[in-house]
């Protein structure tokens, strides 16, 4: 089994740098440079004031990127798979005239996953292996599409250097170098795919100015490649190809390295803000600790003396800027105080709210669910057959139709609340008919008119409001609506103020709604009209109707007997 040793790690790194240094040396130098950089950074950080250090700790680090945790978990599984004794068997396969190094078959992988993770369903292991491939931890050696099939096709592990948890984000220039290098290799099987050729053409246009540079890098990399052992080269080539398949997927495949752009923009904005704050703090800190030194050497030239006075001026200005920063502090304290006062007010208002007890609320939920349970398509099958199973659109057509006979369920729903009745167009019409019989139709008309007013565009609000006032609320209105004097006065003031807005009738509307609910609605539910329509829908839509006629005739016979 081929193990991932440091040589393989270092070689691609050297390639990326585009210079043909000795492989082992480069790795050592790399490590030393990294150590130096880290030490430097640590020293820098230690020299910063503690407040800045604390702030820097809040800058989102790469480890907090949303995908990172998922990557860590996948890597744990991959490491188990790569174990020499208990992992997936990786071997070199002999085929036609060549050997295929370090591969395993798809079915072996799926079987191993099923065994070691105790997966019950067979499709789960396949799905999991597909996800591991889609995230770039293993890849098919022949295909650009990162997926796993449960058969004898060959797959290979990706080297840890290329793992997505290293936060790669490769640039287009790197991709251009890679595609260019591919064209320099003479093997037929390494030819570019269609989409890769298109990308290469596009990148050539994009980087036309520095194309020579890219070409040179590609040449250098392919030279290094040629020097390497054939088998090793096959493995590295395939791993690099898989890396690019992950970051520049072929059309039809999803790019799993992408982050939700909303989160990304927010994380970036946060980083920028924190960095800015750190910089400001550092500046302030420096100003405090390093006052500008004035030169007091008497042998200085005239220029220097002038410079001195300038420096003194600067010092004065500096102190002014320091004052300015102090003053900036004051408004921020004030703004803090204001914000705190606002919060206090909100919380006090919240305390004064009368809240309903949870037990009551729970009871209300239970009754709502039970009442509407039969209308919930997820709980009880609706009256009309499921449109996708029966292949008809009856469900939607029936809902739209408003002629009698209406289904019983629909009519019954009108008795749940006034809102339900008014929501359904045939319900509204029926209610309107009932009200006109009782000579109280103007309430409903007023309510509907105000609803329409709320939906109007701004330009028509004023004239419509005046019309409503004239029609319903004025002293000699044709359809007078009965509301209390206080609301009427309030509404009059708002309408005649010259700029009536769409909510000026709200109080009157609420009053009318309450009237309708308590008075007309309850009478409607007990009325003959409603009972008729309820029974009418029963008879005409069910077989029970016929039976009731039969029993009626039966009763007739018995009575005659």
């Amino acid at each position: 089994m081929v193990t991932m040793n440091s040589n393989e790690k270092a070689a691609p790194k050297a390639c990326q740098q585009g210079s043909s240094r000795d492989v082992t040396k480069s790795s050592k130098e790399e490590k030393e440079n990294e150590k130096k950089e880290r030490k430097e950074r640590e020293n820098l950080i230690a020299n910063l004031p503690p407040s800045v250090q604390a702030l820097m700790a809040t800058i989102p680090s790469p480890e907090e990127s949303p995908n990172y945790l998922a990557y860590k978990k996948m890597e744990a599984i991959i490491e188990k798979m790569q174990d020499e004794n208990t992992g997936v068997p990786v071997r070199t396969v002999k085929s036609f005239m060549s050997k295929i190094p370090s591969v395993f078959t798809g079915s072996e992988l799926v079987a191993w996953l099923g065994r070691h993770l105790n997966l019950e369903d067979s499709w789960e292991a396949l799905h999991l292996s597909h996800l591991l491939a889609a995230h770039g931890y293993l890849f098919p050696i022949d295909d650009h599409c990162l997926t796993v099939k449960n058969d004898n096709t060959y797959y290979r592990f990706q080297t840890p250097y290329f793992w997505p948890s290293n936060q790669w984000e490769p640039e287009n220039t790197d991709y251009a170098v890679y595609l260019c290098k591919r064209t320099m290799q003479n093997k037929a099987r390494l030819e570019l795919a269609d989409y890769e050729a298109e990308s290469l053409a596009r990148l050539q246009k994009m980087f036309s100015r520095k194309w020579e540079f890219i070409f040179m890098q590609a040449e250098a990399q392919s030279k290094v490649d040629k020097k390497r052992d054939k088998l090793e080269r096959k493995v590295l080539d395939s791993q690099e190809r898989a890396f690019w398949d992950l970051h520049r997927p072929m059309p039809g495949c999803v790019n799993t390295t992408e982050l939700d752009p909303k989160k990304l923009s927010r994380i970036n904005a946060l980083k920028q803000k924190r960095l800015q704050q750190c910089q400001e703090l550092i500046m302030q800190h420096n100003l405090k600790n390093n006052p500008i030194v004035t030169i007091t050497n008497a042998q200085e030239s005239e220029e220097e003396i002038q410079k001195n006075s300038e420096i003194v001026k600067e010092n004065g200005e500096c102190s002014r800027t320091e004052l300015a920063t102090l003053e900036d502090d004051k408004p921020s304290i004030e703004s803090q105080i204001e914000a705190a006062k606002r919060q206090v007010a909100v919380l006090k208002a919240r305390l004064e709210r009368r809240n309903v007890r949870v037990s009551k609320v729970a009871e209300m939920f239970i009754s709502y669910c039970e009442q509407y349970g039969e209308y919930d398509a997820f709980l009880t099958p609706p009256e009309w057959p499921n449109p996708w199973i029966s292949d008809t659109t009856e469900l939607w057509d029936q809902e739209k139709q408003c002629k009698e006979p209406l289904p019983l369920r629909r009519v019954r729903r009108w008795s749940f609340s006034l809102r339900e009745l008014l929501r359904d167009p045939p319900g509204r019409e029926h209610f309107a008919k009932f009200l006109s019989k009782e000579f109280s139709g103007e309430n409903l008309k007023f309510w509907l008119a105000v609803q329409d007013l709320k939906a109007l565009p701004i330009c028509r609000v004023a004239s419509c409001a005046k019309d409503i006032w004239k029609e319903f609320l004025d002293s000699n209105a044709p359809s007078p609506v009965n509301i209390d004097a206080a609301s009427r006065e309030l509404t009059r003031v708002r309408v005649e103020s010259g700029k009536p807005d769409r909510y000026c009738f709200d109080q009157a509307q609420a009053h009318v709604y309450h009237l309708m609910k308590s008075d007309s609605y309850s009478r409607y539910l007990r009325s003959e009209m409603y009972k008729d329509i309820l029974n009418g829908s029963k008879k005409k839509t069910s077989v029970k109707g016929i039976r009731s006629i039969v029993s009626f005739t039966g009763r007739k016979e018995t009575s005659s007997n």
Binding site: V358, F378, P387, P457, I458
Partner: protein, 345 residues
Amino acid sequence: MPKDDAETTALKKELNDLIAKCKADQEKVADAKLAEKCGDMGDVQRIRLVVKKSLKGHINKVNSVHYSGDSRHCVTGSLDGKLIIWDTWSGNKVQVIPLRSAWVMSVAFAPSGNFVACGGMDNMCTVYDVNNRDATGAAKMVRELAGYEGFLSSCRFLDDTHIMTGSGDMKICVWDLEAGKREVDFNAHAGDVVSISLAPDMKTFVTGSVDRTCKLWDVRAEKEKQTFFGHEADVNSVCYHPGGQAFATASEDKTARLFDIRSDQQLGHYTPPGNAGFTSCGLSFSGRYLLAGSDDNSIHSWDTLKVAHTGTLNAHENRVTSISIAPNGIALASCSWDQSVRVWG
């Protein structure tokens, strides 16, 4: 950092006291747990939804889906720069609308079915008329509402002339579409407003934001009526209960919660068996099922009253970005980064 002076410390103390009092008040009202009270209710069966239609047509991730008021058509927006209006029954594309900017984050369908709106990283909300075509044959663009300082994260039609939007600059705007002007514009949250849900009676609405709170607003006012705390990370989506007295939320902290408006607190806390954040949520017609689309490619469902997990819907191959339940409760549409939209019934 400015030092605390006497006034600030006194205010801070007062704030903390008030917060403690509010919490104590909440606990007084919380004299029962939702799950216990509903203990003697009949168990609801495991969710039996199956994919009835798979709508294929997008060639890039689909970010958002919304049902029309007729419960049959829905609109989806995808990163390929297209809005597609589908007939969910036949699976046909009724219209394909090419967009000027490909970064669509949110779409909305007017309840009347006459307009669709979309917006995203272009910091604009664009409204199209479904019934009128322009010279090129695509739906006519009625309005381009610009002026946002952040991306458009959610939009909802109040009616054919008013649209409400929430954006990354932490504001809520209500626009009059005929005049193309803002009617209302106010700072809503301390972070991006991520989601808006309108009450069934259209008088109030709820917003969810990345500042981990949800707020209840009256359509007419610019000050929130109530604020709900409880989530530990961004709230990704809110959805009103059909009864209008509660709402469900789904969040990045891997839980979905049910908040009640009358008792001003969190009633239900729903966790999935796995470990992934939620991107969107919806409630069934009677409010019995709570469904939430998640980052682990599946849609989880719970019994809202008994606070029990009732199943998962697996069919998508990448994270589920948005779900929408038909207004008459007959079906659920879900869209995902795997470029497909699925209708479950």
